[in-house]
């Protein structure tokens, strides 16, 4: 199982959410692409649940969105 990098960006709204997430994905691109790392984004911005998965997909990642209490969890892993 890959290691998990938790990114809590609650309180941020788009496009900051997206930019912060992309920054993390860029920083850890090697480990993510080697599938040794999973980035888990916690956000309360609803718009981010659409923009983050869409942009991640263009980069070759798969994003799963879960609903948490008053927040969303977006799990991002390299597309298997």
């Amino acid at each position: 199982m890959p290691e998990i990098l938790r990114l809590d960006i609650r309180g941020q709204i788009c496009p900051s959410c997206l930019l912060l997430t992309l920054k993390a994905l860029n920083e850890h691109a090697n480990r993510l692409r080697a599938d040794t790392l999973e980035v888990v984004v916690i956000t309360d911005d609803r718009q981010a649940t659409a923009t983050i998965p869409e942009t991640s997909a263009k980069m070759g990642y798969r994003a799963e969105v879960d609903r948490l209490d008053a927040a969303y969890r977006i799990r991002i892993r390299i597309h298997a």
């Binding site: 788009c14 496009p15 992309l22 994905l25 860029n26 691109a29 942009t55 070759g60």
Partner: protein, 741 residues
């Protein structure tokens, strides 16, 4: 802050915000809001750096995706080229867009793929669906077509996977040539099965009938539906025991094959013989799957076989066992008698005068007579005895379990009496006798050959003893019979090789003092020792060889006479002896007429000599024949006159020219008073009948003087000349020594 930043920082920041927004828009998200992100934060966050990094990952991902696509494409190509079907994709204009390896091989003759691309498909192959073929609900059309001897099943469908390519049409071609061939073979096998003249029956592993062909139904009389599901036991005739079927199954299981003759019962209950072969079939796992029986109806062969068997062992005319079967029975009788110290008798029966009847009245009547003789013989013997016909007029009776010799003699006597009874056949009353030779086992021979040979020899002795009687074998007979057989062989050969010569003995007219004629006498120069004319001529008569021999004599004498006449030799006629057998010949008159014409001799220059006994056999026929010969001018002489029993009245009625006084009456003349009286009486009789008289065997002057004094002027004998070769006879006629010297 970057060094390349424009001097107007506000303008630069505005530029950055605009470009960031542009990039964010490309990523599909909302633009930056200044109220959220002040300039300092904007610079600290470095959104352009973030987005550039993300774009790097987007490109990376696209490269990976492209690589995957390329691999997938080549995998699909490999699959397409690997399938056992040809695939051709065409566009709306029917131009080839794509195709696989087999399409190239089958339809495009392995041309360069680039040269095929864009070509209209109809110009490359004829795979056009028949217009009447309706598309299926999904729009595809299936059809078949043939090209270069190959059959194809084609599925033509619209390519609908990609909505952009709806104009593409895919053709899938499956080569079904082998399937068609297999189907054709199957159809052929089905025809063979159905139309085979031999019955074919197929059962499953449990020996239940699964199929039968028309011939099998015809042979057995069962309908196919009556047979299906049944066990072939249904057809058992009940004529074979359990071990027969056990052996059959054993051989079938161990060797996979059985062949033999079998009796089956038909639907109507009749039993028929079949020549049947059964084969066992196994499936791929080696388990028995079917049994196949092929049956030929051999009823007619069987009938022919038993008929042939009967024919081979029986005489067709009388239905009696023939020589082959008789030899069998005789062998068995010998074996049995040896084992049981028993005795048996063999009666060899030869019909007397049968040949004369056959020749004079025809084979048809002769055959009727043989049938009647066979019938009479059968009624005389006991059931256990065998009556057989060995051929011609030879019959034989095998009398087994003999208690005493006289029983055999008694049967022989009964046979003689019974066969002597008149035969009434087609308005004729005919008489026949028989001669029987008897041999007894074990005294007269210990094996079949000796017994039969000795019985044959005894039969000949019975004939010699005057016919119409039987004779029990005696050892000395064998030697006679063997000598006779060897002489007969030599005689046959001599006739084939014309090894005979004619000698001519002069007949002189003592009053005129000249040779007036000659008698032709046959000689056998290279013949066996002791085979003089008095030996071989009787044998030739018995064996009927006299017929070809007599013809040769007649022809040779006439040819010689013709030569002499041509050379001016002045004699009146040549005299030729005719035997009883020749006289009985059907076409005798025609034969003589033909020979006279053929040799260029007039009838008056031929004299035939017949013995009294010949003339006495069938008087009506004699009269007819002699009159016909007389019409040809042929002279007739009675030979050896005085030794037979001529009726004077009959003699008077016959057209005869000469009487020849037998030499036995001349030999002791003039000293023997008896002979002198007889000679004188014969000469007197001849004169009174108006016949000429020739004395034979004249050797002395005294005989000549005496005969001359009685008025017999024609003389023949050693006093004048022995029988001479033609040349010597001719010389004698031309320069005769003084007669009476």
């Amino acid at each position: 802050m970057p060094e390349s930043m424009p001097p107007d920082a506000a303008a630069a920041l505005a530029y950055i915000r605009a470009k960031v927004n542009e990039l964010l828009d490309l990523l599909g998200t909302a633009p930056l809001r200044p109220e959220e992100l002040d300039d300092a934060t904007l610079l600290e966050l470095d959104p352009i750096g973030i987005i550039a990094g993300s774009f790097r990952q987007v490109l990376l991902h696209m490269n990976e995706t492209n690589r995957d696509l390329a691999r997938t494409r080549s995998e699909l190509r490999a699959i397409l080229d690997g399938i056992e079907a040809a695939v051709i994709v065409v566009n709306a204009e029917q131009k080839v867009v794509d195709f696989n390896r087999l399409a190239l091989e089958w339809f495009f003759a392995d041309a360069a793929p680039a040269s095929i691309q864009g070509m209209p498909l109809p110009s490359l192959c004829t795979c056009v669906p028949p217009p009447e073929r309706r598309p299926r609900p999904d729009g595809s059309v299936e059809f078949e077509f043939t090209e270069a001897g190959r059959h194809f099943h084609v599925i033509q469908s619209r390519l609908s996977a990609n909505p952009d390519n709806t104009d593409l049409t895919v053709y899938l071609f499956f080569d079904i040539t082998r399937m068609r061939d297999v189907e054709a073979r199957l159809r052929l096998f089905a025809q063979v099965f159905e139309h085979s003249g031999e019955g074919i029956l197929i059962t499953d592993r449990n020996n239940r009938i699964v199929d039968a062909n028309a011939a099998f139904c015809r042979i057995t009389g069962y309908g196919l539906t009556e047979l299906i599901g049944q066990n072939p036991r249904l057809l058992r005739s009940g004529l074979h025991d359990a071990s027969f079927y056990q052996d059959l199954w054993h051989k079938l299981q161990s060797e996979g094959y059985w062949k033999g003759e079998i009796f089956n019962r038909c639907r109507d209950g009749t039993v028929i013989p079949l020549l049947q072969s059964i084969s066992l079939l196994r499936d791929e796992r080696g388990q028995v799957s079917h049994y196949i029986a092929i049956a030929t109806d051999i009823s007619h062969i069987k009938e022919t076989q038993s008929r042939l068997d009967f024919l081979a062992h029986h005489d067709a005319l009388t239905g009696l066992p023939n020589r082959l079967l008789f030899n069998d029975r005789l062998e068995q009788a010998v074996a049995r008698a040896k084992r049981d110290a028993d005795m048996f008798a063999l009666l060899f029966i030869d019909l007397d005068r049968f040949k004369t009847i056959n020749d004079s009245l025809g084979h048809h009547l002769g055959d009727l007579m043989l049938i009647e003789v066979a019938h009479r013989l059968k009624t005389l013997v006991r059931g256990a005895d065998t009556v057989a016909r060995l051929g011609g007029d030879e019959f034989v009776v095998l009398m087994e379990h003999l208690t005493s010799h006289p029983d055999a003699y008694h049967l022989a006597e009964k046979i003689i009496l019974r066969l002597r009874q008149p035969y009434f056949l087609e308005n004729y009353e005919l008489h026949l006798g028989c001669s029987i030779g008897v041999t007894l086992f074990p005294e007269d021979g210990l094996d079949p050959v000796a017994l039969l040979k000795n019985a044959d020899a005894s039969m000949y002795r019975a004939k010699e003893a005057g016919r119409d009687g039987y004779f029990r074998y005696r050892p000395e007979l064998s030697e006679d019979a063997e000598a006779r057989l060897s002489l007969e062989g030599a005689l046959r050969m001599a006739i084939r090789q014309e090894a005979f010569r004619l000698h001519y003995q002069p007949i002189v007219d003592i009053e005129q003092g000249r040779i007036i004629a000659c008698e032709a006498l046959v000689r056998w120069p290279g013949g066996p020792a002791g085979a003089g004319p008095d030996r071989f001529i009787p044998l030739a008569e018995e064996t009927r060889l006299i017929q070809p021999l007599g013809e040769w004599v007649l022809r040779t004498a006439l040819q010689q006479f013709h030569v002499w006449r041509q050379e001016g030799l002045a004699i009146d006629y040549v005299s030729v002896n005719l035997s009883a057998v020749q006289f009985a010949q059907n076409r005798l008159v025609e034969l003589i007429r033909f020979m006279l014409e053929d040799c260029g001799v007039e009838g008056r220059h031929l004299q035939i000599e017949l013995t009294e006994n010949v003339l006495m056999q069938d008087m009506d026929r004699c009269m007819l024949l002699l009159n016909q010969l007389r019409e040809q001018g042929v002279r007739v002489a009675i030979d050896d006159f005085g030794t037979g029993y001529s009726s004077l009245a009959y003699l008077k009625a016959l057209p005869i020219d000469n009487l020849k006084i037998d030499r036995s009456f001349v030999r002791d003349l003039p000293g023997d008073p008896n002979d002198a009286v007889i000679a004188s009486a014969i000469i007197g009789l001849a004169h009174s009948l108006g016949l000429a008289c020739i004395a034979e065997g004249v050797e002395t002057g005294a005989q000549e003087t005496f005969l001359r004094s009685l008025g017999c002027a024609y003389l023949q004998g050693y006093r004048y000349a022995r029988p001479l070769p033609a040349a010597e006879f001719e010389a004698l006629v031309r320069r005769p020594p003084p007669l009476g010297a």
